[in-house]
Amino acid sequence: MDHPLLATHSDFSDPTALGIAELAPAIRSGALSPVALTEACLARIARYDNALRCFVTVTADRARLAAARAEAEIKAGHYRGPLHGIPYALKDIVDVAGVPTTAHSRLMPGTPAAADAHVTTLLEQAGAILLGKLGTFEFALGGPSWDLPWPPPLNPWNTDFLPGGSSSGSGAAVAARFVPMAIGTDTGGSVRWPAACCGIVGLKPTYGLLSRRGVQPNTFSIDHCGPMTRTVRDCALMLNVCAGHDPRDPGSADEAVPDYVAALTGDIAGLRIALVRNWYAGEATSEITDGVDRAAAILSRLGAIVEEVSLPDIGDYCDCKTLISTSELFTIHAADLRTRPEAFGEKLRQRVLGGVFIRAEEYLGALRWRNDLARGLQAWFGRYDALVTAGWLNTAEPADPNHVDFFRRGRNITMPFSLAGVPAISVPIGFGEHNLPLAMQIAAAPFAEATVLRVGDAYERVSEWTTRAPILHSGDSA
């Protein structure tokens, strides 16, 4: 079954509808101009983002210059690769030299960042076109919040709902076809949750595969940068550029980076998959449970050997991560908490204040607990090639400041893979009530992104979810 990179599209009347895999060959051949593509994206943002509020900053002038430069380079025969001329956007905790990083917070000074984050450098070197900085929970944690300098982004599939978080703007922007690719960050699920809510693909790579340099920290030992795209193939294309050792990030892994696109063989026959059903059956909504079960059955039909397994309750992973996170978050924000606590959004302040009481013994105890949990989870990869489970236990939350979701509080199906540091991808598997997307997660052993992508891609080839697009409405000015 063919899933060609070199798709021969000839209809570029709406290039924003296309993914990197379709755009790249057209840009390379000259059939599509990077300038036209960037203009189309900027026009779409100008028309529809008032209603969605994905962007904190749109770098239109810079984007136009970069697109013109890309076009000239390509015409002169200097083609940098599949991301050349492709628009992208960054969660607004990722630095771009000369552009302010707001972290969606009053705490940030609003002055331009001094240097590019490493992931920004890699994307720029690949010739990608930055369109702007995307809304997020405050410092990737405090949200969804309505007491910040900018309102929270909304879900393109249904603006009565939120797009998940904390990479909220990233998920929404990709789903809305404002950009075909974005960078988010994931500590407890912040790439995968918005991917699940927005019906797109979001990968939390192995801890250390992507550099964290130049990214505002949430939890040093659990933070990951991750690509967010509409298809698994696009995700692999983005990962090829963004993965790799950065000696200036102390957590950066020094591992060889394979060609992730080459791994998309479409063949998962004989692959051993453990379906972690106890994590979602009975706790997720019935449409999610049925959706994930159906997706697992499809993987089985594609030749994978799918077996149901039981893992420890997700509450353990959540408690352990919260102890570690809160300790590190408090330390990160301590100076501001002591001098200007009122400048915090309420949710961020509440979530980090508890760290003041955590003792070193408790923090160290959590780190020891993490070792046990990580070892326990990774032990499954001795017997299975991949773990599959739900992407999230619920669909997107209502966009209502007064909405409180007690039942889900603190129970997070993305957490186990964060804690274990293993690669985990969220892949769309359908739609439920209110037109809200459903998702599954696929995880594998450390540095086995190729396996995770191969399973996701195989599923994607026989499903149609990525062809659907949300219907946007131009909103009133903010």
Partner: protein, 468 residues
């Protein structure tokens, strides 16, 4: 027979390989000497005489038929009593572990057994390698062979004493703030704190995870190299274990240090914590030896000693409390007073404070590696010569500064060798520090120094005690 206990590993190994010396005879010589003289020093807490004799016999048989499997084959050794030994009590000198009989050998012990070594016994240590010298723990504190009224320093106190006294040619200790180098210095022997992660800590009762190092003590640097060849290497069961290629440490003892660039941390020695005049003079004399050998010496600037101490000790007190918290809450009376004092406040350290201490460590480690890139090795005294063995205020751990702690913080390989003798006969010491994983260079430099100086010819005069 009288000289056998003073053989180095290298010498004994050569004699064994050429069938001129039997491991049985060698082992017997050590056991006899220990039985005669260790009551003066209390360097052993457990003697494994029967096992040693059996191992020596087996080694002899194998060597007779197929030759030695390693340079440690048939060579007696002892272990700081924090190295777990299967079936043999491992007490860490603590009432809490009086009945502790491990089921499994530590990694290093497994390696020594595989190399054909002969286990003589377990050595006195400070309680849990941290509280000491103590008179209220399971066994009395070890004493210094150069003068039994003096301290052998700690925490690898018994290990240092045993080598200097000729009770064994080989031992393993541990070093978290200086616990190999301090005893090596006090006892006039060689001791190496290897690069962090080079030697597996699996089965070594922990002091402080993030700063613990396992390492050898012996009479010479050549002997240290032989021991490192046995114990260095990646162990997936030790989460801090480094995955690096292990060089041939003995082959690296080429004797050549011409052109070596030696850095001296002058801000420490001249301003912050000047050594006493005699110690300074001994250090200068050592530097002169290197000048004479064609090395160049230059001052280097490192962050203040006190910062290294603050970072390490804050991290350590929190990690120690984490390790011992359960016992402190339920049976604090079983701890020696020194250890209990040194860890009890760790329960009050907040995570934020621990994390800031870890951030300081990151700064200091970066600064150290930056400086080490500009030189081949760093040199400074290890410590003042040993003082009398007497109770010291446990708070001194927090207040006294240390020339050894910075290299636990940075993780760099750090060696202590004997650099002469004071007027009262107690040894002076020289510390040689290298770049990360450059343990071979550090040993090479120490080896050259030992061969260029007469210090290795002098042994402590331990006499059989006459009845008082």
């Amino acid at each position: 027979m009288a000289d056998l206990p003073f053989l180095t590993i290298a010498e004994a190994s050569n004699l064994i390989a050429t069938r001129q010396l039997s491991p049985v005879e060698l082992t017997e010589a050590y056991l006899t000497r220990i039985e005669e003289l260790d009551h003066l020093l209390d360097s052993f807490v457990t003697l494994t005489a029967e096992r040693a004799r059996a191992e020596a016999k087996a080694a002899e048989a194998t060597i007779m038929t197929s030759g030695p499997v390693s340079r440690m084959h048939g060579i007696p050794y002892c272990l700081k009593d924090i190295y777990e030994t299967a079936g043999i009590r491992t007490t860490a000198m603590s009432k809490l572990l009086a009945d502790n009989i491990p089921a499994r050998d530590s990694y290093c012990q497994e390696k020594l057994v595989a190399a054909g070594g002969v286990l003589l016994g377990k050595n006195a240590t400070w309680e849990f390698a941290h509280g000491g010298p103590s008179w209220d723990v399971l066994f009395p504190p070890a004493r210094n062979p150069w003068n039994p009224a003096y301290s052998p320093a700690g925490s690898s106190s018994g290990s240092g004493a045993a080598i200097a006294a000729g009770f064994a040619p080989a031992t393993l200790g541990s070093d978290t703030g200086g616990s190999i180098r301090g005893p090596a210095a006090a006892c006039g022997i060689a001791g190496l704190k290897p690069t962090y992660g080079l030697v597996s800590r699996r089965g070594v009762i922990p002091n402080c995870f993030s700063h613990d190092h396992a390492g050898p003590l012996a009479w010479t640097c050549e002997d240290l190299a032989i021991l490192m060849q046995v114990i260095a290497g990646h162990d997936p069961e030790d989460p801090g274990s480094a995955k690096v290629a292990i060089p041939d440490y003995t082959a690296a003892l080429t004797g050549d240090i011409k052109g070596l660039v030696i850095g001296v941390p002058t801000t420490w020695l001249d301003d912050e914590d000047p050594p006493k005049p005699a110690t300074k003079a001994a250090f200068e004399a050592a530097l002169d030896v290197f000048r004479g050998l064609g090395c160049s010496i230059r001052p280097v600037k490192l962050p203040p000693l006190r910062q290294f101490d603050d970072a390490k000790k804050t991290i350590a007190v929190a990690e120690l409390f984490t390790i011992h918290g359960k016992d402190l809450r339920t049976r604090p009376e079983l701890f020696g007073a020194s250890l209990r004092y040194r860890i009890i406040a760790g329960g009050l350290v907040r995570a934020e404070e621990y994390l800031n201490a870890m951030r300081l460590r990151a700064d200091l480690a970066r600064a150290m590696q930056s400086v080490m890139e500009t030189i081949d090795v760093l040199m400074l005294p290890t410590a003042e010569p040993a003082g009398k063995l007497q109770p010291i205020p446990p708070s001194s751990l927090f207040t006294k500064s240390s020339f050894t702690t910075p290299f636990n913080v940075g993780g760099n390989p750090a060696l202590s060798v004997c650099s002469g003798f004071a007027e009262n006969g107690m040894p002076f010491s020289l510390q040689i520090v290298g770049g990360l994983f450059d343990d071979a260079t550090v040993l090479r430099v120490g080896d050259v120094y030992e061969k260029a100086t007469p210090w290795r010819q002098k042994r402590p005069a331990l006499a059989v005690a006459e009845t008082a």
